[in-house]
Subunit: 400 residues, 2 copies
């Protein structure tokens, strides 16, 4: 077969994006039997297999072929109402025109990036941050402002300094700031109420939009922080959320909530024609589920597993590492001074435990070599204890 | 609430795309009780409700939580193999790296457009063509070459003339040609074997890629024409297909098959993280289904309904209209000389029948005012007869 050079047909901006941000894999292949402290998956125990089976049966009983066409299932509309209702309970009041259901939060982030970002746009990000979002933004621009995260979320004072300096020098200001303010991925930290207010003031003063990724917001161990979108008086916040962490990622239910002009544009550029079967199944599942009760079960279970993980760190690694204590979500961020954690992973996999090396969460990967992200969502309590013990062995074998 | 002008934050190319191709609706709201000869939906009789219910039960029985995570279900891989096998039966042999599962054919078309088209790119299209594809391309470029469709598919001689003329004048040549060669939407026509060869020769001579949309290719009443991709010796054809017309659109299973470099790029820019539950459900459905038998049932049913539609046209409208006789697919394309079919639709809805006015399938909508697309897929035989009778009444009332 004579083959043409297919890449010669790619458009210039795509060639450029692929060159600076080439397709790659951050997920390490985890050998069977390894304890998965790397995984951002929900606990298998709490993935609602039986209720979903019941939901599908009920759906077909009541709607026959309707959920299998492009449109027609009344539950496509119903799912939107159910999500509006859940958002309202957290102080986010959006109309039908201000909400778009997407294939997970990632599709929402990608669509927002497509509408707002071109190669002249500066995006402000917190560092470290969600690797998938980083990848998405890097497909559109090479210009970032990076603001460090500490135990209170990202440092809004540092953001203000950077913005003031850029303004005084006549430099371009960011159009968009991306943040996971609550139970952040990967650090588990939560932006304080003061910083939330400060951020909104800065957005008004320096005229940028805020993309709030709230994938973990409902998974609080104690009190749920108020989402940025609920504090937003200027419609500057684009709120992105998901049922992936509280129901199941495989259903791919996420959303974007924000100004109707933006939502209209997102919907217009979203050319997958929706996901009727998945939407209608999820709507039926939500109908037959006591969601508050479900959330309480999840919060209790994850809090318990988080406690186990942290006591295990204290027991097996306390002099060697430091960490932030999360108040919700899935993750604990650990610093291991003097250790290259990519190298550590090789040793840890031999011991039988997996984690995500910190470098993947940094724009400049060199800044993340001493960190790891541990997840307490997927593994059970016994595995967590065992996993941290194995991690301790691996760290000690490296430090010797 | 003080609102910012959210549109001022949109990137320049998006502002420009929204200006020239504003969000709109081509789907007319069809009043309840109206006969739907407008609908590109499969026959409700043949949408596999019970087998899918069985498939979901079997899936959860065998895999528990696996299909509800991001990855992990062995059936995600299996679906790809099943589609590779079906493609191979039609002469299209692609490796795992040359195939990407997408959310319907539309997402595949959108991703291909995103990789290949920018505002400097010229796209060659057949006219009339699939409205959703037109919308997608118009989000990326304003430059089109439009080649008319006759009863043998689009006119490749005309394409050659246009290309030769552009070349002689030193004008930019198209990078991509989009075609639905088999049972075209909206005309129902099929590109002849001679024209298929001619097209491939032109692609080599004038160095462009071909996007083959094969959504209807398996729904032949007699013989299945050989797909362009099966004739492709240079890897110039990007083949896009779907289970929407042969299983159910609500599952959103489509694909792109082509050169691995392109498929890698499509996968990298597809940021929805896949659809595990839908993929695993579909794989299980395919396991428990005799697909050849299913196809035979569908082909027979649609052929019968097409025959009924055409006899009804002969009976109720023969002196007033003309049409192409399709050899497969879902659609009959009808010309009604002297009638503005958008105006006719208003009258037809009063009579109780819906169709799609032809203008939506044209880049220049004025060229399509005398045409309508009738579908024989969704309505049953009795409704088809009744619908055409009502259409006859509406046409006559307009022509009086």
């Amino acid at each position: 077969m004579i083959e043409v050079s297919i890449e010669s047909f790619f458009s210039e901006n795509i060639k450029s994006a692929l060159k600076s941000n080439p397709p790659g894999e951050w997920m390490t292949k985890v050998p069977a039997g390894c304890i998965r402290l790397n995984s951002g998956y929900p606990s298998p125990t709490h993935v609602p297999v039986m209720p979903l089976k019941t939901a599908v049966a009920k759906l077909f009983e009541e709607e026959q072929d309707l959920p299998l066409h492009y449109l027609g299932s009344p539950r496509i509309t119903k799912l939107k109402e159910q999500i509006q209702k859940r958002l309202a309970e957290r102080g986010i009041h959006v109309s039908e025109e201000e909400l778009l259901i997407t294939s997970g939060a990632c599709q929402a982030i990608d669509l927002i990036a497509r509408i707002l970002i071109d190669d002249k746009t500066i995006v402000a990000i917190e560092t470290p941050t969600y690797m998938e979002a980083l990848e998405i933004f890097q497909n559109y621009t090479k210009s970032f402002i990076s603001i460090p995260v500490d135990k209170y979320g990202f440092d809004t004072n540092r953001l203000e300094e950077v913005l003031a300096e850029r303004k005084s020098k006549g430099l371009t200001l960011p159009r968009l700031l991306y943040t996971i303010p609550t139970f952040q991925n990967p650090t588990g930290t939560t932006l304080t109420a003061e910083r939330r207010q400060h951020l909104l003031e800065l957005a008004a003063k320096y005229n940028f939009l805020i993309l709030e990724d709230d994938a973990y917001g409902e998974l609080s161990f104690n009190k749920c922080p108020i989402p940025l979108k609920a504090l937003d008086r200027e419609d500057r916040v684009l709120h992105v959320g998901s049922l992936s962490k509280v129901v199941a990622p495989g259903l791919r239910i996420g959303w974007a909530a924000g100004a109707s002009e933006l939502i209209t544009a997102l919907a217009w550029f979203k050319k997958d024609l929706g996901h009727p079967f998945s939407h209608a199944t999820t709507a039926t599942f939500l109908e037959i589920t006591d969601f508050e009760k479900r959330l309480k079960t999840l919060r209790d279970a994850y809090q318990e597993k988080c406690t186990v993980l942290i006591s295990s760190l204290e027991q097996y690694l306390s002099e060697l590492v430091s960490w932030y204590v999360p108040e919700g979500g899935y993750f604990v961020w650990v610093k291991i001074p003097g250790v290259d954690t990519a190298q550590l992973l090789t040793q840890a996999l031999v011991e039988g435990v997996a984690f995500v090396p910190g470098k993947y969460f940094f724009l400049n990967q060199k800044d993340g070599t001493e960190f790891i992200r541990l997840s307490f969502s997927y593994a059970d309590e016994k595995e967590i204890v065992e996993g941290i013990k194995k991690l301790g062995k691996a760290v000690k074998s490296i430090l010797v």
